[in-house]
Symmetry: C2
Subunit: 220 residues, 2 copies
């Protein structure tokens, strides 16, 4: 199994967590986003969307979109499940993940920030305000969603991590990277702390990846 990704891509990070939680061995294929390797003809022939991640499994199936990949892994490697068994529970976990994947992350990814800086000529300060605005919108809704739930457990929706943490932990990494104030989100930070204490989440960290620059790279 091959995973095309980039060490700091939030969407690739989600899939790395899922693979690690399920104990699936894979070959990491780095695609440098700052060098725009994702827009090369070789890569767009594999993924016309010109985005990472992309999974190619041993049967040759090419699957794009982090959430589609994780659902696929959950259906084909069900021993460690990332979704609850009941439809309403599954819906709640998916809605939490989609609130990140649809309404928070896409507004702050590299191609959007490049468009703000380029065609719209938005200055650095206004660009940082944009980033933090959408982070605050997204994270405060997630915190409020969890605050409305009874009896907090270690993770967002139970005693074990789910698709929710596959999305939340990379989003919080991203928020820290842009200097967002995380003080208003104690529940999210508690979940992050519990997750990062697990070897699977640790192995998936950006700074553990082989394509991380030497000055940030760490080994366990």
């Amino acid at each position: 199994m091959k995973l095309f990704g980039y060490w700091r891509s939030s969407a690739a990070y989600r899939v790395r967590i899922a693979l690690a939680l399920k104990g699936i061995a894979y070959q990491a294929v780095p695609v440098s986003l700052p060098a725009h390797e994702q827009a090369s003809p070789g890569y767009t022939a594999l993924n016309p969307q010109a985005l990472v991640p992309l999974l190619i499994d041993d049967a040759g199936n090419r699957i794009s979109q982090s959430l589609a990949i994780i659902e696929y892994l959950d259906e084909t490697h069900p021993a460690v499940s990332l979704l609850p068994a009941d439809p309403a529970g599954r819906a709640r976990v998916r809605a939490f993940a989609l609130a990140i994947a649809c309404d928070t992350h896409p507004l702050n990814n590299l191609r959007v920030l490049e468009y703000l800086q380029g065609p719209l000529a938005v200055g650095d300060e206004a660009r940082l305000a944009w980033i933090r605005h959408w982070l605050a919108q997204g994270l405060s809704a997630l915190e409020a969603t969890l605050a409305g739930m009874p009896q907090p457990q270690a993770f967002a929706f139970g005693a074990t991590p789910s698709l929710a943490e596959c999305c939340l932990i990379p989003q919080l990494y991203n928020a820290r990277r842009f200097g967002a104030d995380l003080a208003p989100y104690p529940r999210l930070r508690a979940i992050e702390e519990a997750a990062l204490a697990l070897p699977a989440f640790d192995a998936a960290r950006p700074e553990r990846q082989t394509d991380a620059p030497p000055d940030v790279r760490t080994t366990p």
Copy 2:
């Protein structure tokens, strides 16, 4: 079953299509986005994300996020299925839907356009260029994805509509609204024509909804 939505919301439109395809009766509860009713305390108590759609089913389950709602409906009302049976097929349909829901639609929804116009003081022309840029990025990737598939059938992934069309038809409605050039996407337009010929897609159209303004509202 109640669906909180807005006639012109692309995300609510997706769920209306799924409900109509499955023949599920529901009560439409209009939430006016231009009047910011989605940010009222009454509504955010139901959905902290302050977005439509929101489904409340007869058991009282509150489910947000259009794709989570459609997956929930697919699991609880499986007679008309919106996903293929095999995991790789399901992954391809989900990836197509997510390419719209994560990477195309969120960049052009109302709250983003308001932020461009307000804090960033982006003029009308540059704002329209932004909208059309992300539409072209998204739609051309979808067209390329389908062009790479053998033997086109009536719909994106087979002889019957799926989650792919639940997302594609509203996205094309949105593209027309902003005057995007759809000439480069013949396959997408053929799918749209096939879909809109079906009563379920017709019933879900924005202009068929009770909260559409009288001057655009039409009846079948």
